[in-house]
Symmetry: C2
Subunit: 354 residues, 2 copies
């Protein structure tokens, strides 16, 4: 076990009692934050089902771990520290870790997985099972109790649809960011609303309540000031924060806001249908069932104008077997841990059978 650059991270281990029960680490790493949970490894019930409630021993949180965003060194330091913190809180050490699942945004290629796995190998004892995935995988697993099968749609600041088959095939759609047309994302919805304000002001588009509602939200006195506000900060999340104003304007009957939201529903539904079709998730007759896990602020069901529900309505017209899941209790980091637990148990069962 390497102690790495920030060796003091693991100093706490020397003061920990020798543990006897195994643990699993699940990590969900995004551009906004990184969450690591430590779960008791336990043994599967005779039914093969997971113990409920999930035996989460500790939870730690840190900043961004997307290597595309903050660079490889900073991303690794964040991941290592948050894992150590979760173990410390659980009063556990690396020696009793059975499996680790890192689900990190920015992991898009087998070479990313391999590089991160090699680095993890230097941190944990050699018996530890290591899984490295994109963060969409953790989101899916959080809705399927750790089973890597089905479709996941994420729509927060950005959006991506991913689908997985049980035999390991994978497909993705969207996730290309604002320049490349992720119009169903929170950023996309809000940017269209800002555009509608400029058009109404220019006389190129219909008047809309969005003008009053968004200017009030931003404390600006005129649409002319929107240009300065928009380009004063390049953060995508800052634009996406305006989505609730678009939703409330649509709920109040504004036609422009309604059209933007209907457009985003189509965009999101098309992303889902594209990956379902490519993997044949719905079976030969197009009527097979498949889970659709939906996560992210845009898909939260806390509004009358329920974007997620509309997306499901749209998808079900083509694929009636869609089974929507909006995970409430299970966060993605737990999903990652469940995924590791599932794989670990399967391998363990395989060894017993052998």
């Amino acid at each position: 076990m390497k102690r790495c650059r920030n060796g003091e991270v693991w100093d706490f281990e020397s003061e920990m009692p020798e543990g006897d029960r195994g643990v699993i680490l699940g990590l969900d790493g995004g551009t906004a934050s990184t969450v690591c949970i430590c779960m008791a490894a336990g043994m599967p019930a005779p039914s093969g089902l997971l113990p409920e409630p999930f035996p989460v021993l500790a939870r730690a949180i840190a900043g961004c771990s997307n290597h595309n965003s903050v660079g490889e060194t900073a991303a690794r330091e964040t991941i290592e520290r948050v894992m150590a913190q979760a173990l410390l809180k659980a009063r556990a050490t690396r020696s009793i870790v059975q499996a680790v699942c890192l689900a990190v945004s920015g992991v898009n290629h087998p070479s990313d997985q391999e590089r991160i796995r090699d680095w993890l190998r230097g941190i944990f004892p050699s018996h530890v099972k290591l899984f490295v995935e994109n963060d969409a995988v953790a989101a899916l697993a959080s809705g399927t109790m750790g089973k890597l099968h089905g479709c996941v749609l994420i729509a927060g600041t950005g959006t991506i649809a991913s689908a997985y088959t049980e035999d390991g095939r994978e497909a993705r759609a969207a996730g290309a960011g604002p320049v490349l047309g992720d119009w169903g994302s929170g950023y996309g919805i809000a940017a269209q609303a800002l555009t509608a304000i400029v058009r109404a002001h220019d006389g190129r588009g219909p008047q809309t309540m969005l003008t009053f509602n968004i200017l009030r939200e931003l404390r600006l006195s005129s649409p002319d000031e929107l240009i300065g506000w928009t380009y004063s900060d390049t953060s995508w999340a800052r634009i996406a924060e305006l989505v609730p104003v678009v939703v409330s304007s649509a709920e109040a009957g504004d036609e422009v806001a309604n059209r933007i939201l209907r457009g985003s529903v189509l965009e999101l539904a098309e992303s889902v249908m594209a990956v379902v079709k490519r993997l044949g998730l719905c079976g030969g007759d197009g009527k097979g069932t498949f889970p659709l896990v939906m996560v992210g602020g845009v898909l939260q069901p806390n509004k009358r104008w329920d974007i997620g529900k509309e997306v499901v309505g749209c998808v079900s017209k083509v694929y009636p077997g869609v089974q929507p899941i909006r995970p409430k209790q299970v966060e993605p980091a737990v999903g990652a841990a469940l995924l590791a637990w599932n794989c670990f148990v399967r391998e363990f069962a395989g060894e017993l059978a052998y």
Copy 2:
């Protein structure tokens, strides 16, 4: 006359002979470059027409002078240096300057004009007439021989439509940048083309020649690599450079590329019509004539798919009095000088009459 921070800029003046003929400075300042020309002030012909060819004595060029882009200090330094260089090349000094017209992008508000005029006042003798305008004004003047009346449509990396009446009213549309929906701009056209590639690759949109043609242009081997390419550099101009590939794909019959260009024509025509309508440029019956000056790479007439021509066709259906002008010989900096010349002559004539 202040010598300003970079006082050595004007050191050359002490070695210049005392001039007897007046000169005018015209400056066109954009985000890409700044051009200053020095023109002999002369006297109007008895006809009131400008002398031809225009008596341009010198031309100097420098970098960006948009204060929003490089900051106020750097913008001022650039403007001062390029004016000094033009005078030096013309073997003239500030004492014989009669009028200065700065037409600079980023000048959007009377307060911008006032601030820059105050600063210019410290550089030039008190008798010099000073005009500070947005760069759209120089573009218009380059097509109208210095007359500030009519509509100008700029479509390069960005796009803006501006209109002016002889009694000093003004209207603008678009010019809000890529986040706020300038889809008719070079950036907008190219971003839509990149999006079409991603959609075709995802299975969310029709196949298109743009995939092959743009990947070849960028020397990329797969659409997956477009995401990395797009976000590796935030320059809008870099994206806009792909417009010729979109145009050639459309000329080769690609339907997706054709749809994008037709959309950009509508966008640009709508911007023009919005400002013409707001100012009533076309008279009470909507049939009055008005000049439409078109500048910028997107509107160049060097292709079979002639975006500028299509825009005019679109506008003329609603406003048959549109008179398109694509300035060939007169560059915007000369337009700025002509504008100053016109105003200067008018004031001079007014003084004589008085």
